[in-house]
């Protein structure tokens, strides 16, 4: 078995796949820099991210994977889970070695692991689309921040851009310290120097907010309470739909 260490980027992972073939490696264990514990006896092979190598591998994969599977590959990569890097490497090699169509083999452990992880990431993307709560600021920007388990921000622009084409908005990932800003024309990545804390949920300081913001968040809280039917209360079902770790996003769950 050979140990490969890469920088944690998608390009790096694809480069690692390339080098498996270049170096004629058999069994490879892939770890990211962040999870690598140096070992005096096993120095391992350092993968240097290489755009050209990465591109060739991706092209090869696209040849054999439909759009859905290409997206699955990317989504499971965004999970940032150490074990998924290993699955992705093995999956890529399996797909390259087999005739097209091998991705339908759900009984294969890597195929299954990636389709399941992609599903999880997809679910979280969908939850963010649902649970983001914008607050309108005094200068007319709609602001929301999130702390997703997975790095789903890159998956969000299309949805929010289509929906909120005529308003400027920011969605900021507090955990990873970067965000998206849509300026009525395009969406860009941004950094904020002073992002507020998640603990003061969805609450930008009042002096930054539009004068009607309080009214509408109040009306929304009222609405949420009214629409409940006490005779049907079922907290177990409720928590299954809205796991507690997401409650912090929801203004209607505050107060």
């Amino acid at each position: 078995m050979e140990l490969y260490i890469f920088d944690g980027s998608l390009e790096g992972l694809l480069t690692a796949v390339f080098e498996c073939y270049q170096r004629k490696s058999q069994v490879v264990k892939l770890v990211s820099e962040a999870h690598y514990v140096p070992d005096v006896f096993d120095a391992g092979h350092r993968v240097v991210s290489d755009f050209e190598k990465g591109k060739r591998v991706w092209k090869g994969l696209c040849h054999k994977l439909d759009k859905e599977w290409q997206l699955r590959f990317y989504k499971s990569f965004l999970s940032e889970q150490p074990e998924i890097f290993q699955h992705l490497l093995q999956f890529a090699r399996y797909i390259i070695d087999q005739p097209a169509g091998a991705s339908e083999n759900f009984a294969h452990p890597d195929v299954l692991a990636i389709s399941q992880m992609a599903q999880k990431v997809h679910r979280e993307k969908h939850r963010m689309e649902a649970f983001v709560r914008f607050q309108k600021t005094a200068d007319g920007i709609y602001y929301a921040h999130i702390e997703p388990d997975f790095d789903v921000l890159p998956l969000l622009p299309e949805h929010f851009q289509n929906r909120y084409a005529d308003q400027r908005w920011i969605i900021y990932d507090l955990k990873r310290s970067y965000g998206l800003y849509y300026d009525l024309d395009k969406t860009e990545e941004i950094d904020l120097d002073t992002a507020p804390q998640m603990s003061i949920v969805n609450a930008l300081p009042a002096d930054l907010l539009d004068s009607k913001e309080e009214l509408y968040s109040l009306l929304w809280q009222d609405y949420f309470k009214t629409t409940n039917i006490p005779a049907r209360k079922n907290m177990r079902l409720h928590v299954r739909h809205v796991p507690r770790r997401y409650w912090k996003y929801l203004s209607e769950k505050q107060g």
Binding site: V132, R133, K136, N162, L219, D222, T227, R232, H238
Partner: protein
Amino acid sequence: MYERIREKLGILADAAKYDVSCSSSGSNRKNENKGIGDAEGTGICHTYTEDGRCVSLLKILLTNHCIFDCAFCVSRRSNDIKRAAFTVEEVVELTMNFYRRNYIEGLFLSSGIFKNADYTMERLVRIVKKLREEERFNGYIHLKTIPGASEELLHEAGLYADRMSINLEMPTERGLKLLAPEKSHAEVEKPLDYIQNSITKFESEKALIKSVPKFVPAGQSTQIVVGATPESDKEILYTANTFYQNFSLKRVYYSGYIPISYDARLPIIGSQPPLIRENRLYQADWLMRFYGFKVQEILNDLHPNLDADVDPKLSWALRNLDQFPVDINTGDYHMILRVPGIGVASALKIVQARKFGRLYENHLRKLGIAFRRARHFIRYADSPMQLKDYEAGHIKGVILAESKSKYQANPHNQLSLF
């Protein structure tokens, strides 16, 4: 100054909540005018009530004043409650401001009937028109059809709404007459029919001319109240089936009656809403729509009511053991779909995966089927030898014993689908 609008919202959201439809999917309205909103694709639940229902639309009445006196309805004329009415502008502003904050997918607008049907419908149309034309709102709009409204107004409404609905309320004409003598199923069928014909007409024109405007792109739905009148599940589901067929409905909603009145014709206040029954009806409805079951297979004269203790899919399997076991590695997709514990997604994965080799127990477990339930009905590469055929009562006993905690912990509450 916030108090007036808060009070109105309180009254008019409260009166609207008994309409259980929350779907915001099935439309194809894209944001093409760089306006706001997008109702393409599947809907989003932005939050869930504490009873586990999806909240995706701002569901309100324009007013709860009503000239009718339907016994099952909180807004009925004879009920002594606070009344309120929104202005057109108030509804538009609430919708826009909720939508811009990503609270909702759109608006579900209904109303009590004040003055007369056309007067009410005209107001509703004015709201949706303003949203679409002035605010350039492309979010989802579900509009209630007011029974008795003119065809001109229905037509205009259809140009702006994504979905329209009109409720059957009681499963049979007999039940409806008992509680709302002024109403009839015929006056529900008339607008359903008119709108369905218009949808078909617009669609066929669209095939020829591209610029034909949208007309109720997410189709129509209706709601049936369960447990207010004594109909059997068979009567309910057969009515639903007929309406699915005759009017190409997108959905039939079943709403367990929540007692809100001391009327002697109705269950008394404080009695439990029939939530398990409601859930079983939804499950049966799914079997008809997604699993290829005919309504006669699920309910018939020998079996006029759904079981409370097992879901309708399991119930059908137990009554038809001669059709099992199904061999996972060779069986027909449609039969695999009928196995209790296997859903549409896992059935598809099974038929894909088996092309690569025979499937064993460990594959099936990983593919996400409810193996403990399914194993009684299937054969797979390493299934154990079975010496004798088990009978239905035995299998049911085993399954119930294994899932006991799930069913007993909270017997009056809503269960999930399968």
